[in-house]
Amino acid sequence: MAEIAVRTASVLHNKHIAPNVFRLEVEGSFRAKPGQFYMLRSWRHDPLLFRPMSVFDRTEESLSFLCATRGRGTDLLSRLSAGDGLTLLGPLGNGWERIDERIALIGGGTGIAPLYYTAKYFAAKDRSAAIDIYLGFRGRPFLQEEFAQVAQRVYRSSESGEGGEEGLITEIFNPSGYDTCYACGPPAMLAALSKVCQGAGIPLFVSLEERIACGIGACLGCAVRTRKGMKRVCKDGPVFRAEEVFFDG
């Protein structure tokens, strides 16, 4: 496991990708497993806390994040430009561990962010792995070519019907034929996937989101009740076996 550290890095690019979505890339060699995240800040005390972001991609020279603009923190991050400084705390969380031959990665909304590096990493680690990606967008899909490069097949849906099959990604996805499924996205999507995967007897790992304060497991601010007791999303997760999670709160 890579050591957790606080580092500052300078921004290489910050690219607008879709309405309210940007890709932030910083310079440097960072270690991270797929499904792990970093805490980011480019300010001192206001906002007070770091903002958690999953690793979208990693190369020997850079680390990137795919972020949606939500509130003040992500708005400030969206305004960074090349050469600006960014403080990073990480890598954090457990990440996705197991690799099987036939893998489905399912993402909804900004939940698609961790899937790119996951597919790339798994494919590099095991050449026989067959990875399909399912992406659920609200509006017009983006990053289609990028995802196509790291997966065997990419399925898309769009709630608005623009540039993809109209509807939810859970309506397209069928777990049969896969050894393991990994999912990240809104709670309702994870709950629906959990149901179908459980029905089909196929293991599902889900990446959960909670409000994060310390990010390293010290404050219990992100704890959720699971079938195995209270767990910290930032430290014991964010990835959990779907059977352990109570999706109805």
Binding site: H45, L48, G221
Partner: protein, 303 residues
């Protein structure tokens, strides 16, 4: 040679910087960033007689320069703490301050008695948690506070610190002192509220939550200033401290030591940086001991 240590009751701490309860786990996580034994001491998460799951999410919510939390005292209980966490803390070389919460004086006594037989160095009685459903904050009332401390004092030979809520009046602090507390810790979080304007409902299941961070610093400093003038026993200042300069401010208001909470979330190295900053400050000012500046803000003032 400057003496950076401080004495509180019979106990000497190597420096006046202590990690605050609930913000530092049991020390293990921050020990990955630096040797946590460099701190004067580490307060544990609030411990109770029996294990507690705490409150449902969301448990934290950011406000301007502040943090609302509603953790609800999730902890393994005193027995599991002593078995599973305390040996590791002692191995790390920490001065361990066990923060304890209970629903009534009787139950405080039970938890304190168990801890008094363990290897913890100090027991910090938390009579100021704002995050337990249906519970009043005992520490705000002098009589109730005194009852809890009397009970704990009679069952425990270890140093006993009492952590007060920010609303505590001077008479509560004096009552606690009278019952034999070795120090007063002030403050715990301020009771706060946040409402989701989409749903029209409070953000937190428990409605109210505790406010910490830089937003509360001047308020906390004011409380510490007043308590330091009102009691003989040491006061340990807490609230919004993020830098060594903030720590000096609390010492000048009369605090013997300070605790660092939310600042650890802003920078995992914050507590250690404050230790280093204070050391530099002592050298620059050619101080021999903290006594030379402690409470200096009171000189010539009407209080």
């Amino acid at each position: 040679m400057a003496d950076r240590s401080i004495r509180i009751g019979g106990l000497t701490l190597k420096n006046p910087i202590i990690a605050a309860s609930g913000c530092f786990g049991f020390g293990e996580e921050y020990n990955e960033f630096y040797d946590v034994a460099r701190l004067g001491g580490v307060c544990t998460k609030g411990l109770t007689r029996r294990p507690r799951e705490g409150n449902p999410p969301p448990r934290v919510f950011e406000t301007p320069c502040g943090l609302l939390n509603s953790i609800g005292l999730q902890n393994p209980g005193v027995d599991a703490f002593i078995r599973e966490e305390l040996p590791m803390m002692k191995e790390m070389g920490l001065v361990v301050i066990a923060n304890v919460w209970a629903e009534c004086a009787e139950e405080y006594g039970e938890a304190v008695e168990i801890l008094s037989r363990s290897a913890v160095d100090v027991i910090e009685i938390n009579i100021s948690c704002p995050n337990v459903p249906g519970q009043v904050i005992v520490g705000a009332q002098a009589q109730q506070a005194a009852e809890v401390v009397r009970r704990c004092r009679s069952l425990c030979d270890k140093p006993l610190w009492v952590k007060l809520p920010p609303t505590a009046q001077i008479d509560a602090a004096q009552a606690v002192e009278e019952q034999g507390a070795d120090a007063i810790c002030a403050v715990n979080t301020f009771r706060g509220l946040a409402i989701d304007i989409e749903t029209g409902r409070p953000i937190f299941a428990n409605t109210f939550a505790g406010l910490s961070g830089p937003a509360i610093r001047p308020l906390a400093l004011q409380v510490v200033y007043q308590l330091a003038a009102a009691v003989e026993i040491p006061v340990i200042g807490i609230g919004g401290i993020t830098s060594w300069q903030d720590a000096v401010e609390f010492i000048m208001a009369g605090a013997h030591a300070v605790q660092i909470g939310t600042a650890n979330f802003i920078d995992p190295l914050a507590s250690m940086k404050i230790v280093e900053g204070l050391q530099q400050f002592m050298e620059d000012r050619r101080l021999h001991s903290w006594e030379e500046i402690r409470g200096c803000a009171h000189e010539g003032s009407p209080l």
